[in-house]
């Protein structure tokens, strides 16, 4: 994509398109231009929190209805904004076109009324979003305290590896009645913007339209971030992904700003000895493992990378493991196009590391890895490859262990999802894996699937934390007077 793309700024229902600053353009990178956010900072921030009052004239049903109407307009066949975003993502995304198209076609699903209701109910509680909920107590005898979840002024520094991150952010912002400033990622500058523009086309003055802003600035730009990340302007920051971006943000932390990080994570896989029961079982395991590695072309933090297998570490065990490696590689090649394809920009550094393995004697066996088709690396020496942090582009690393214990100990707070086979092993180890730091335990093959998406993330509840939990308490006046005069509570 040689010509430059314009990435306008949306501030609460208004489009600003004096795109004067150029970004990107290095080796094959997208070139795009955007307005200078510094010129618009005073309007970008919501300086008076009471300006959020308009959101409270809406009932939850109004919000569901608004999102449902928005979802109907987010069809890839008719929405020009979304088509433009897709066009840019085709060039910037690590996902190939077929996988990417599938993601975009799924966007309206998230806006269906039943989906929005269940998401709000499970991730916050609709009653808490709608009003003051009494807290009955068996200890305290007075009138019950009441709690309500309020929206907050929040900057979202979102990831660009899949378009669903921006979509989820817009929906969460709406049902929590928050005011969002979304900082777009350079690898997907248009998707969230497309949603905001569709909202403007649909209902330019609606409060939900007027409480979403979408901007691009270069992460770490002090001229923007210093004034923005100020407790007078922003109460919460939700930061996804890269260590560097989170490190930038921590510089501005001070009392009054709540940082919610969805850290860079990696995921793991644990396969029990039952996988080797017979050849048909091994094939089934291989196909499910291929899904965990290959879905989204391994662009997600949920994808399998290092895979511990209770194959045994003796010669027979290694032979078993290599068979699983071979089957998994074959299964990877057969995944449906909309789920996974050979990677269109295979990481050259990773390729050089894989090429290096053939010089490591008999410590590794590599299936595939010739071009961009992906690879399964079998570590015959019982340790993950030294470049395990680089694993991407559909490259998995099988590590043999004699029992599941060794694998459990390798889990830590950087481990997000663990795909496990068989179910009994999952049940047996789930508490221990949680103590070690794992955050999501899922049947092998389901790591990259989010059919049931209204769940905590990275061991935290980011949506509850996006809210301000406000307490109202009623105490009898006479009782308080008695306390003041006699020191006795009533």
């Amino acid at each position: 994509m040689s010509q430059s793309v314009s990435v306008p700024l949306v501030i609460r229902g208004e489009i600003i398109d004096d795109c004067r600053l150029e970004f990107g353009g290095r080796r094959g990178e997208l070139r795009f231009s955007a307005p200078d956010v510094r010129d618009h900072l005073s309007r970008l921030v919501l300086d008076t929190p009471s300006k959020m009052a308009d959101l409270y004239e809406l009932g939850f049903d109004d919000i569901v209805d608004y999102l449902a109407r928005l979802g109907q307009r987010l069809s890839m066949t008719t929405n020009a904004h979304l088509q433009a975003a897709f066009e840019v993502s085709r060039h910037t995304s690590g996902l190939s076109e077929s996988v990417l198209r599938y993601f975009y076609e799924q966007i309206p699903q998230s806006f269906l009324p039943e989906v929005v209701r269940e998401t709000a109910q499970r991730l916050v509680g609709i009653d808490y979003l709608e009003g003051w909920v009494p807290q009955p107590s068996t200890v305290y005898q007075g009138p019950p305290s009441r709690i309500r979840a309020f929206g907050a002024r929040c900057v979202h520094v979102i990831a660009g590896n899949v378009p669903s991150v921006g979509v989820g952010t817009v929906i969460r912002n709406a049902f929590t009645r928050s005011d969002a400033i979304v900082k777009s990622p350079s690898n997907d500058p248009l998707t969230t913007l497309a949603l905001a523009r569709t909202m403007i086309d649909m209902a330019p003055t609606h409060p939900l339209t007027r409480h979403l802003s979408v901007a691009y600035w270069k992460g770490g730009d002090e001229g923007v971030e210093q004034p923005l990340y100020d407790p007078r302007h922003v109460e919460k920051i939700v930061a996804w992904g890269g260590f560097t971006s989170i490190k930038h943000i921590t510089r501005y932390l001070q009392p009054g700003i709540d940082l919610i990080t969805l850290d860079p994570k990696h995921s793991a896989t644990l396969i029990g000895a039952e996988a080797f029961a017979d050849d048909a079982t091994l094939w089934a395991v291989a196909r499910r493992l291929a899904l965990d590695i290959g879905t989204m072309n391994q662009e997600g933090c949920v994808n399998a990378r290092v895979i511990y297998v209770v194959s045994g570490t003796d010669a027979a065990g290694l032979a078993r493991l290599e068979r699983l490696g071979q089957y998994t590689f074959e299964a990877l090649q057969q995944l449906p196009m909309h789920l996974s394809t050979p990677h269109k920009a295979f990481d050259a550094e990773l390729k050089a590391e894989i090429d290096g393995l053939r010089f490591a004697g008999d410590d590794y066996r590599v299936f595939g890895g010739k071009n961009n088709e992906g690879a399964i690396i079998v570590s015959r020496d019982g340790a993950p490859v030294d470049f395990s942090r680089l694993l991407a582009c559909r490259v998995g690393n099988l590590v043999p262990v004699d029992d599941a214990e060794a694998a459990v100990l390798s889990v830590n707070a950087y481990t997000q999802t663990i795909g496990i086979y068989p179910e009994a092993l999952k049940e047996r180890l789930r508490d221990r894996l949680a103590w070690q730091g794992a955050q999501r335990l899922v049947s092998l093959g389901g790591a990259g699937l989010f059919k049931d998406a209204a769940i905590p993330q990275d061991g935290i509840e980011p949506v509850r934390r996006m809210c301000k939990w406000i307490v109202e308490q009623t105490i009898d006046g006479a009782e308080l007077e008695m306390l003041a005069t006699t020191g006795l509570a009533g």
Binding site: R26, R27, F243, I246, K247, P264, A348, E349, A352, E353, D355, G356, L357, R358, F359, A360, G361, D363, Y364, S379, D381, G382, A383, V385, D386, F387, R389, N412, Y414
Partner: protein, 472 residues
Amino acid sequence: MTSLYEQLLDDPLRYFDASYDQGYRLNREQRDAIHLRGLQKRFDALRGSVSVLGALASEQGIERIERIDDVVPLLFPHTVYKSYPLSMLERGQYDRLTRWLNGLTAFDLSGVDARGVGSIDEWIALLDRSTELRILHTFGTSGKLSFLPRTAQQWIDMNTLTAHCVRDWRGPRSGPDLLTQRLPMVQPGYRHGAGATYRGVDVMVRRWAGGDDNALFLYPDTYFSADIASLAGRLRAAQARGEQGRLELSPALLARREEFAARERDRPAQMEKFFETALQRFGGRDICLFAVWPILFEWAEAGLARGIRNVFGPGSLLMSGGGSKGRVLPDDYREQINAFLGFDNCFEVYSMSELMAGCPRCEHGHYHVPPVLVPFVLDPDSGAPLPREGVQSGRFAFVDLLCDSSWGGLITGDSVTMAGWDETCACGREGPYLHATIRRFSELQGGDDKINCAGAPEAHDRAVDFLLSRVE
């Protein structure tokens, strides 16, 4: 007497006996013939004795080299010399590390018994004692040291070649002859070590300076530890990912931490003393100085501030490089350094640990490929060789024909522009040369994973801090 062309055609190692500058007066046809014959000779000799080369050749179905480009599928990726699993070091399996190294050298290491070796330093010492190898280690690209199987003889040969380059680069016998002139050697670094910049020091002291009495080092008695370099590299990689908490340290390393800490604490004072001593002992005399630009600049800046200029003789020689990474130098840093030192005879060479035959820089800023190095520019995406003509940009690769006991073929991580195939550089030297725009691909991709020699001391500091922060 046969011509250099005939000598190199017979054996590229004959370049060690030649006038260095003559290597840049060969014509295209002669160079191509030397390259093709040299490739054939090295491949035929090494495919049977360097087992990983044999395996790669079998896998690629390559029996013989008919044309120069035939060798491209046989070039090793730059990861080859660090392809051992790190777990070998963590588990102290130095016998397995020896077996791994055995696959990369024509020497037979099967008689080396590395059981009981507890550290990289001990392993290197064992190889020094019991084999022809004098391996060198790098400072740890992306947290892992590369180990290159150089031999004792190769260090002597490389020393000869460098001396000849200094002597003949600007015309036959135009420069000092380091092998006879006994210039005092001044280096603000380690006297001992197997690190890329330290391994050759011993030969230099012996052959150039004529002994330690005529040399000055910052650490004259200290060995630069490969184990510390390894820790520093892994620490840097872990820091870059925010995973410092995951690093595990060996008890042997922890036990040595006080020693490292004391040395690091004393470093600024030692450095001051070193520079003082250099002025006292060698001021006004011609010297041979080795130092990276940032250290030189610090010295010059402090000296000039005290009104000190022209401290050494005009016939002195500076060997530098390493860029200015980690420190922003003013535009006129070289002028300031020259004014302070009192000479401007500086040699800069494009080289790397994997190269025996580096490429010296001419007055037009081009790095000239010597005739014993077969250069390639590869398409960065496909890896296919680009035509050996015109101006080509891509990934630099080479076969170093001076490597006769390991395979000299390597695909580098460097992005280069090469010219000179069909046009002569304005400096008059024939043959291919690289433009000054050399970058690492990893930097171009936004990464920065290389600790060059200029960065190593700083990384060392961090490693020591980290060691000290561990409460037993």
